[in-house]
Symmetry: C2
Subunit: 477 residues, 2 copies
């Protein structure tokens, strides 16, 4: 048996010999996965809107989304600059007739814009988000001129909202989580915050015909109506496309891997195996875990098209949808092999996968980067939806989890996502909250540490290794 | 030397043996390329707008775009139904006070909607476009109710335009190409058409708050401002994303392959070779061809990141941009081989590529389907732009050409795109017009017929075979 099954090609391709010893035999690969030709683009997304309109949530979502697509982005929160001088201001500070407050707020905006320009000039990234109310036309014009002078495009994003319930829910969120009200009585904080909003309302100017020359996107009751003006390039249009799919109603997303499969038992990857006896136990217990974590909410269940996810979801009393895009990472010629067999048959590939797991593409199959690209429509659907439970596969779940938790590409392919565990993610203005429910049904660990080809890695060892990567929350059992 | 370099894997994967003999060794591939989970979706895109607002152009573009992404779509043009009874109506026919005209126009709308529902029920496709003015709220409500009863979602797309120059240019386009004015004096036709528009203007109602419950997209001076209301699902959001990137100002797109390369001379595929002596002659002649076909227009040149396109474009006196997404189809392990070598090394793959060239993915490389997906951002940029000249590669050019000319997937991978020829595409309301300029500089033919592995196919034979696939326009020499 030849050690390298592709040895016979080598004589035809001497220039590839070097590449094949260290990595996959694909020289000169020049296409970038997401198709984004954004190297020359520098965009400042300028948030516009009254407090409690979800601006910070939108900003943080855009940053996470772009990062997930390998586009470096960063938020510059003017409030944070202001807080260095005025840590816990009262509503009076935001009164426009208070000249000292006005001066300090303008200084904070200037500091943020200055840092942002520095960040662009140092090659920090392609998209900066200026998170502040930016509630007057003169302020917006000032930002636009500052950016133009620095060769930065501006995209104004206004969140306009007259849904009282939504605003109140945002106020409650802010009063419990904003650094401005740290340690204060929640009721007093909420009242002060309402007064602060009133002060902004006095001077607030919505984006209108006077600003028809600006590139902007106006979100009216987020997710309901969108007005898009003068979009100029691809990256702007991607950001706007994402924004038009957002809503900011409170919700959670539930994630679970399929129950243990026969392939998991044998240490094989890929395939389309049935779930094992213990996997079946998990499938039967899953409705109970869901009930515990979701109460009476009506969920919609999304599975892949592979048997093990469909079997796992089948006792859930909800509508179900199978997505091809949720199928496991395609391991190409390695499908149905064990890690041991892969190491033996493709030693060079095995090593190069460990060296850059995110970008490694199985021969005839997919990389994590490929999976992220095909998951994008799923993320868009998820953003538009409420109360979705996804039953899918390890690599796919890692990518979805990475999107919501902002895990970077170095770490996400190595995260342990245990079998027989239900994960609930709840997006909040200042981050996503995670809860886990374990079914307490034993399963093999399918987690493999860097450099290891062990069939099943010792679970204790694996969770030790994993805890360095991921601050896993306490699991409810 | 082993005949099949992957033979050694076979013992580990008995279930794959069958697959590998007839096709690529990738069993159970379930992910679909574009990520669209649209099987259950049925959307009627209802055009809204006065005549000469580019509705038919928009409709035909959406159909082509979706078809290019493997999503079956069809336009139902109410005017065509009306024409069976009233082939060449005068403006009076469109006067709302003319009851007979009104009756016939309503009957045409009913016939179109009926046919559309039948088309959906017969599994004809996922997206139908109802192309008519649909200028009153009552007409739109009637369509929405008819669709809802048939389980079809509606997406209203209004083209609103007050740019007189644009309207006049559309009127000129229509008067010369509309079947309504066949054989008539252009000036008389234009005057009649202006009267027809006036009749519609009397009753025209734009989409507004009364219709806030509808899903709609309002294009204001196409490409300038877009209002999006209540988008419901992924496919709707894709269509709207496409629409928001459109403009309908008159323009052309220029396409050219790189000049003949050293790899072309040797019959090798892929790689990153320099252009040959004859390729260099083409590069030097290209500015002249461009001048001849574009006059004094300032173009922007897009190339791939590979040497042969950059070298070919280097004498053009315009701004140039290199796109990774324009790189040649990645032939993976077959990169730098000749077709003869591929046939010898991968006989089964060679055959299965011929059997389904569009979907065949080179081991470790790409398929035409993959290329289409990575070209989507290019198409979006192209739609937003004017006066672009693209210098790229055979497979990539085939995909771009297929998008503009609506060539189907069966045929597009087999089209011959000769070296040393400049192609100009000019989108019009009733189709894309193509012109070609040959540099009259000899080059090898890189076109390969089905089943052949000839290094260079005889050019005469190849153009004969090709003429069945593609109605190539006369080439200007």
């Amino acid at each position: 048996m030849a050690a390298d099954p592709r040895e016979s090609i080598e004589q035809y391709k001497p220039e590839m010999r070097k590449a094949s010893s260290g990595q996959m035999m694909r020289p000169n690969r020049k296409t970038n996965g997401s198709g984004v030709q954004a190297e020359d683009t520098r965009i400042c997304v300028v948030m516009v809107g009254l407090p409690a309109r979800g601006k910070s949530l939108i900003a943080s979502k855009v940053v996470r989304y772009l990062g997930w697509l390998s586009i470096a982005a960063k938020t510059f929160n003017v409030g944070q600059y202001r807080r260095t001088n005025t840590p816990t201001p009262t509503a009076d500070f935001f009164d426009t007739t208070n000249p000292e407050g006005e001066r300090l707020r303008k200084a904070a905006a200037e500091a943020a814009v200055k840092d942002m320009i520095k960040w662009f000039n140092n090659g920090g990234g392609l998209v900066a988000i200026l998170d502040a109310t930016n509630s007057t036309k003169s302020r917006r014009r000032w930002i636009q001129e500052r950016c133009e002078a620095a060769g930065i495009e501006t995209l104004f994003v206004e969140s306009k909202c007259d849904d009282e319930e939504l605003i109140m829910s945002n106020i409650k969120e802010v009063k419990t989580t904003s650094p401005d009200y740290k340690g204060q009585d929640p009721e007093v904080a909420a009242q002060d915050f309402r007064n602060r909003i009133r002060n902004y309302e006095k001077v607030y100017q919505t984006l209108d015909e006077d600003e028809a020359d600006l590139t902007y996107c106006k979100l009216i009751n987020v997710g309901h109506q969108v007005i898009i003006n003068r979009i100029k390039d691809y990256l702007q249009s991607r950001v706007v496309y994402y924004l038009m799919n957002l809503h900011i109603r409170p919700r959670s997303i539930w994630l679970s891997r399929h129950g243990e499969s026969m392939f998991n038992l044998n240490g094989k990857i890929g395939g389309d195996a049935d779930i094992s006896e213990r996997g079946e136990l998990y499938a039967r217990k899953l409705p109970e875990l869901v009930k515990e974590s979701a109460g009476d909410r009506q969920l919609t269940v999304w599975t892949s098209t592979l048997k093990r996810t469909i079997q796992t979801a089948r006792f859930l009393p909800f509508e179900k949808l199978s997505w091809k895009a949720l199928d496991e990472l395609d391991s190409g010629v390695c499908d149905s092999l064990t890690y041991g067999e892969i190491e033996q048959l493709y030693p060079a590939d095995f090593k190069s996968r460990d060296a850059d797991k995110y970008n490694y593409r199985y021969l005839g199959g997919e990389s994590y980067r490929d999976v992220v690209i095909r998951l994008e429509p799923i993320i868009m659907e998820l953003e538009r939806s409420e109360n979705i439970l996804i039953v899918t596969h390890q690599a796919v779940l890692r990518c979805i989890y990475a999107y919501f938790m902002g895990v970077d590409q170095e770490k996400s392919p190595w995260m342990e996502v245990p079998l027989h565990t239900l994960i609930r993610l709840t997006p909040r203005a200042y981050g996503t909250v995670e809860d886990r429910w374990s079914a307490n049904i034993p399963a093999v660990s399918t987690w493999r540490g860097k450099g290891s080809s062990a069939k099943h890695q010792d679970t204790e060892a694996s969770s030790r290794a994993n805890s360095q990567d991921l601050a896993a929350p306490e699991t409810k059992a």
